[in-house]
């Protein structure tokens, strides 16, 4: 069922200059959470750092069936400017590999858009890693966004 990342990239190159207008979402002054996962109570995040108004926070390590997942967010003011996975399930299991290569970029996307739209759930997102979300959540809570 899973095609290669290269195939996906090929499809994404369709007429990029005429892409549909994305929805402009306004950052909320008081964000109660990025997704429904907010309700989970998880271990606190750790390892924050600050450079030039930007803060980098690392979420808790979340154990998933496929291995450990850990996420780092960069925050400028109340805005998330980047989300990266610092740890994703390793190469010991081919399936984990596939999930890692998908889940990283996809959840990065989800996190970036969900922060501003009070969206509870995304339709279209396949192969999301909940461990990634959970780790992200702890980092976001720490960041106060």
């Amino acid at each position: 069922m899973i095609a290669t990342a290269a195939a996906t990239a090929g499809l994404l190159s369709f007429h990029p200059s005429r892409s549909a207008t994305p929805v402009a979402t306004e950052p909320k002054a008081t964000t109660t959470g990025t997704t429904a996962t907010t309700n989970r109570s998880k271990a606190t995040s750790s390892g924050g750092s600050t450079t030039g108004g930007k803060r980098t926070l690392t979420g808790a390590v979340e154990e998933t069936r496929y291995g450990a997942v850990q996420v780092q967010v960069t925050v400028s003011g109340r805005r998330i400017t980047d989300v990266r996975a610092v740890q994703l399930p390793g190469a010991d299991n081919p399936r984990s590999d596939q999930i890692s290569s998908y889940a990283g970029p996809e959840l990065r996307a989800e996190a970036l858009q969900a922060q501003s739209a009070s969206i509870d759930v995304i339709s279209g997102a396949t192969y999301t890693s909940e461990g990634y979300k959970a780790s992200l959540q702890t980092a976001l809570r720490e960041a106060g966004v």
């Binding site: 369709f14 929805v23 009070s118 192969y127």
Partner: protein
């Protein structure tokens, strides 16, 4: 209460907001999904579908759930003019070599395109019986929303933008409806148009909103396989609202879909079904009146 498990090859998230619903109810819903996987998975040698495909089990002798799904798949093939075809799915590259597809031999089926939505509908039924009224069940991006997340607001569903990874293409408050999206941007070109044999590629994503997820998911899959004719076809279906994003980036929506959006002006209640701003306007086609109570026309 929120729980996520990887089942049927997908992360399935169940988020129930009713205090009275116990963890046991959520366990039962996941149990149901695991049973579905054991019956239908073509990744398992011992599933009923794998045994059917090898000729070791006849359809008459299969479990009632299997017979129900196979009958539904045949109805869908008819309804979609072959755009949804569980037999073609079993022969598709990437599926035929799977352990349960019996090398795509004649009569082999891969009903996964229907099973996923149908299974998630069943999981919701389990939760409902246990008293859940306010919940989301998210099966790898195909979602059922019911009730409300909090008393003073409605569930919001973002539709992943197929070209811009950190954006949504629309935001819906679908009320009690189900939302499914098929596209080429997530798992690669995983939907094959049975009538052409190749990967469906003229549209980037098809989103369907319907009263049950089995319908929404199957019609989104079929619409994606149809390519450019999907928008007109979906506009004529009585039980679904749709958004199609084609490969030139145009977004086509049915008026009923727009009525659910919160990122665009809502249609005035009581305005004509075919509002002038409607994007889907196939020549000579009048969008049918919606028959389904959970969609805007029935409100």
């Amino acid at each position: 209460m929120r729980r996520v498990e990887q089942v049927m090859g997908l992360p399935v998230a169940i988020d129930v907001r009713d205090e009275r619903v116990s963890g046991a109810a959520v366990d039962a819903a996941f149990c149901w999904l695991k049973r579905v996987d054991s019956l239908f998975s073509t990744y398992r040698r011992d599933s009923q579908i794998a045994r059917l495909n090898r000729g070791e089990l006849s359809e008459e002798d299969a479990e009632a759930d299997v017979r129900e799904v196979l009958a539904a798949c045949r109805r869908l093939r008819e309804r979609t003019g072959g755009a949804f075809d569980a037999e073609a799915a079993a022969r598709a590259p990437g599926a035929r070599n799977r352990i349960g597809c019996a090398d795509g031999r004649s009569g082999a089926v891969e009903p996964a395109g229907y099973v996923k939505g149908w299974a998630i509908d069943g999981a919701w039924d389990v939760l409902w019986v246990a008293g859940a009224r306010n919940a989301v069940v998210d099966g790898g991006g195909d979602v059922i929303v019911r009730g409300r997340p909090e008393p003073d607001r409605a569930w919001r569903v973002g539709i992943q933008h197929p070209l811009i990874e950190d954006r949504v293409a629309a935001v819906l408050e679908p009320g009690e409806a189900c939302v499914a999206t098929s596209g080429a941007y997530r798992r690669g070109a995983h939907i094959v148009d049975p009538r052409r044999g190749g990967a469906a590629d003229a549209v980037l994503s098809v989103t369907c909103v319907a009263c049950d997820l089995a319908t929404a998911d199957a019609l989104a899959t079929a619409g994606f396989a149809m390519g450019r004719s999907a928008a007109g076809w979906l506009a004529r279906q009585p039980d679904v609202e749709a958004m199609v994003i084609d490969d030139s980036g145009r977004t086509l929506t049915t008026p009923g879909f727009d009525a659910l959006r919160v990122d665009a002006p809502r249609k005035v209640p009581g305005s004509p079904r075919r509002a002038p701003s409607s994007d889907i306007d196939p020549p000579g086609v009048t969008q049918v009146e919606r028959s389904s109570s959970c969609l805007p026309a029935g409100r």
